[in-house]
Structures are given as structure tokens and as C-alpha cells.
Amino acid sequence: MRAEFGSPLRPMRCAQIRERNDSPLTASLSLLRMRQRAASWVGRHAPLAICVASPARVVVFVEQLSVDRFLLKIHKRTSRFFKMRQIGTLFVLAVLAAFDFGCASLAPAKVNDPSFIRAAGTKEKDNVLVTVAVLTATESRDYFGRPLEPGVSRQYG
């Protein structure tokens, strides 16, 4: 089914956001009202799309509504919402940083005889000796201390 861009929803929503230059939360509130209207409109006219042509995107859009409602409740209860949000953001960043530093280790194995060397092949041609070994995903993870192909070794290793 074709998206109906001629419906009143899209121009109204976009215009209202442009008109309000005050705090982001106010804009967010008007956006919320718009989205609530949009949601009820979607309920009546699904699977028509709003601003986007894909019904799948509409599902994501509607799910975001519940988050906005949650944020709105917090705001009504305390005027320190922004401060809390900034503190929360900093906290999340700190956790991420700690996580990143914790994981960011590169510890190549200190092994003189890695297992893949035993399966190496050697050939000689024109007085040149060539030895080749191929590492599996698990072997490269063990040797380099990092999974060079994430997912593969976990799936089958």
C-alpha cells in the first residue's frame, strides 16, 4: 500500500517542531502529542506509513512513544530532570569507558611452538623454500589475544 504523504499528520508534525525554539523538552512534549495522534492514526490506518514509507519503520516509531511517556513522567515529578539525565549520561559513559578499557587488551600469546605451526606445509621451488600455516578462527584468537573474526569461533569453536 502506498504511503499517504498528503495526510495532515506529516506537515503538522514537522511545522510544530520548527515553530518551537524553546527547550528540547518542550519540543519533545509537542512531538509526543503529535506522536500520540500519529499512533492513534496508525491504529486506524495501519499499515500506512507516516513520513517513512516502510511499515517496519512505523513499528519502531510507535515503540519510541512509550519511552517519551516515561521521560515525561519523570519530568513532572522533578524539575531536576535535566541534571539527572546529564549525571546519568556521564555515568553511562564512565561505565562504557571502564568496559572499553577492561576489554581493550591486546595480549599476544608468548608461545614458541603454536599449534598451527605443526600443521604447516613446506615446499621448495627454484631454490626458494616456502612454509605456510593457516590459522583457524580459534587459533587466531588464542594467538593474537583478540578474535579477529568475531562470532565464528564462538559459534563452532
Binding site: L96, A97, D100, F101, A104, L106, P108, A119, G121, K123, K125, D126, V128, V130, V132, A133, V134, T136, A137, T138, F144, R146, L148, E149, V152, Q155, Y156, G157
Partner: protein, 332 residues
């Protein structure tokens, strides 16, 4: 002398590219360490006279088996060396078949060229499901050691297949539903010589629904000491509904099964591993107007010939391949 990594893998990764994939978001110092480490690991391309270079070349991941082509360029020409290396992980069907003890050495029957032709013509036409129903035609004969055959296939982009198991069935099912690529997707069991295939290979396209796949059985015959393999090859071209499968769906094969057979011949020509080629009767002519059905109800038609391909251990350019005229192809 120079090492030419592009000839090993046209899409190889540079050392700093691999390092970048392991960078931290927050620490430049750590990132510098990663860069230094991977640069140190990478093999230097220039090899000084009388010296040995050691290091890593970062290429795309293959599971099960890999053919590594090493090309070295020097003032007097190019040195190329090929390696076929198996990468056992416990999940591939070739790891679960003991080819060495399949036949006792004294039970193997070494054939002359005329005996070989007669034996191949008298082999059963088709694979079965143990209930004597005719499955897909056994339309290829390969002569050569397993390493040479597998190497020739892997060099042309064929991959070994995972054995059927819970994890591989799950992955196949996911790929089936989502239309993803699964290079090592297991193949169903078909029977010849009263046993399921010893090993299978496939050349996958972008989705699991489209692939060339080949099942191989080691026969009790040898020709000039080289093992003779019976194979069944067909091309999956999509999926279709069927009541003959537990999942109500099956792969649809290209009804013109000779196309897949001759595709394999081309691949072996391209890999410069085809020593000689012949066609022999044995499958039986099936016209497009009155096609046969395989075990899952897919129709197929064929000129009735098997391709017989002898694999060389050394490289054979296409213009030096011998064509043995046992049977002529229909258009000749």
C-alpha cells in the same frame, strides 16, 4: 624478490586495517600499541637475497580447508607455490569419514582403461535412499587422490560441508528462512555403494538456496593406482514446497543436470588440474519431454553420460588436457 599478497587473496587485509578493527574508542595510547603490534606481525614483502622473511598475511577466513597460493616476483620471473591445507574443527563431514580404512588395500581392484570404462558403464545409474528408489543421477567420476581432488575444488571456490548436527541444522534453518549465505551448509544424505556420501563439497552463491553441490563416494576401484570416486552433482536454484521433507520445503534443482556436471569440468580446467577427460554411458538418456523425478520429486533430464575426470597433481594448462573419445556429447 617480492611477496605478492594480492595473488594469495585479492581482498587481503593490511596490517593497520586489522589493527583498526581492534582499536579502543577511548585510548590513543592503546591504539598506537595495537598498530605497532600488527605492523610487527605483518610479513615484509621484500625478501633480501639469502634471507628468510617470517610473518602474517591477513586474509579472509575459510573454514574446513584453504588453498594458499604464494607468488614471489623476482628479476627473472615469478615463483608460484600452492598449498592445500585442511583446517579441522570437528564439524566437517570429511573429518567423520575414515577413507583409509574404508576398503582394505587387497580388496581394491586396479583397472586397465578398458576395464575402467566397462565398470563405469555398469555402475547403478543413480543414488538412492536405501529403499531402492532412484535419486539424483551419479553423473561424475573423479580419478585421483583425495588431497589432489579437494585441492582442485577448493582452489576454484568450492568449500567442504559441515556434517549434519544440531548447530549446523540450526544455522541452515536460519539461513533458509532469512535467505542468507551459508558456505558450509550440510547436504542431505544420499546413498551409493550402500552408504551415505563420504564427503560433499559445495560452491555457494549469495543465499543458501542457490549453490552447486557435489557428493562423493570412494569406489572399490583404482586406475593406475589412483582412487576412483563416484560423484553426484546438481545445482540448487531455489526452494519449493514438498510433502516429502520434514520441513515441507526443499531445494529445487536445475532440471538440466548435465549443466552442473559440465560446470565442474570447466572449474577443473580453470584450476589447471584436469589431466584427461572422457564421457561414459551409465546414467541413461532422459528427455526433457519425459523427465525423471529424484527422491524429493524434482524433475530432471540428461543426455545420460557421466563425465570422467582424471585429476593431475601438477598443473596442466587447458590446451594440454587429453580428451578420450569414449562417447560423444549430443551436439558433437
Amino acid at each position: 624478490m617480492w611477496i605478492l599478497p594480492r595473488f594469495t587473496d585479492p581482498d587481503y587485509f593490511s596490517a593497520l586495517e586489522v589493527a583498526y578493527r581492534n582499536h579502543s574508542v577511548f585510548s590513543n595510547k592503546f591504539n598506537q600499541k595495537v598498530d605497532d603490534t600488527f605492523r610487527k606481525y605483518a610479513i615484509p614483502w621484500r625478501v633480501a637475497p639469502g634471507k628468510a622473511n617470517t610473518g602474517f598475511l591477513f586474509v579472509n577466513l575459510s573454514e574446513g580447508a584453504k588453498f594458499v597460493n604464494v607468488e614471489l616476483w623476482h628479476s627473472k620471473g615469478v615463483i608460484d607455490v600452492g598449498f592445500y591445507l585442511e583446517l579441522p574443527s570437528g564439524h566437517f563431514d570429511y573429518e567423520q569419514t575414515d577413507l583409509i580404512s574404508l576398503y582394505e588395500a587387497n580388496r581394491l581392484n586396479d583397472l586397465t582403461i578398458e576395464q575402467l570404462r566397462r565398470v563405469l558403464e555398469r555402475l547403478p545409474c543413480c543414488t538412492d535412499d536405501r529403499a531402492a528408489a532412484n535419486g539424483d543421477p551419479a553423473n561424475v567420476i573423479l580419478i585421483g587422490n583425495d588431497d589432489d581432488i579437494f585441492s582442485a575444488l577448493v582452489r576454484q571456490g568450492w568449500d567442504p560441508t559441515h556434517a549434519l548436527g544440531a548447530a549446523t541444522i540450526k544455522k541452515t534453518f536460519q539461513s533458509f528462512l532469512l535467505g542468507r549465505r551459508y558456505r558450509y551448509s550440510p547436504v542431505s544424505r544420499l546413498y551409493f555403494f550402500d552408504r551415505q556420501q563420504d564427503v560433499a563439497f559445495q560452491k555457494a552463491r549469495a543465499t543458501v538456496h542457490q549453490r552447486n553441490h557435489m557428493r562423493l563416494w570412494l569406489s572399490p576401484y583404482t586406475y593406475r593406482g589412483q582412487p576412483v570416486w563416484v560423484a553426484q552433482i546438481s545445482r540448487d536454484i531455489g526452494i519449493r514446497f514438498t510433502l516429502r521433507s520434514a520441513f515441507f520445503t526443499t531445494h529445487k534443482i536445475d532440471p538440466q543436470v548435465d549443466e552442473a556436471r559440465d560446470y565442474l569440468v570447466q572449474d577443473l580446467l580453470a584450476s589447471e588440474s584436469l589431466e584427461w577427460l572422457a564421457y561414459v554411458k551409465g546414467v541413461g538418456f532422459v528427455s526433457p519431454e519425459a523427465p525423471r523425478e529424484n527422491l524429493t520429486g524434482d524433475v530432471y533430464f540428461t543426455d545420460g553420460l557421466r563425465a570422467v575426470v582424471a585429476i593431475s597433481r601438477t598443473r596442466v594448462p587447458a590446451d594440454e588436457v587429453t580428451f578420450v573419445r569414449w562417447e560423444s556429447l549430443p551436439n558433437e
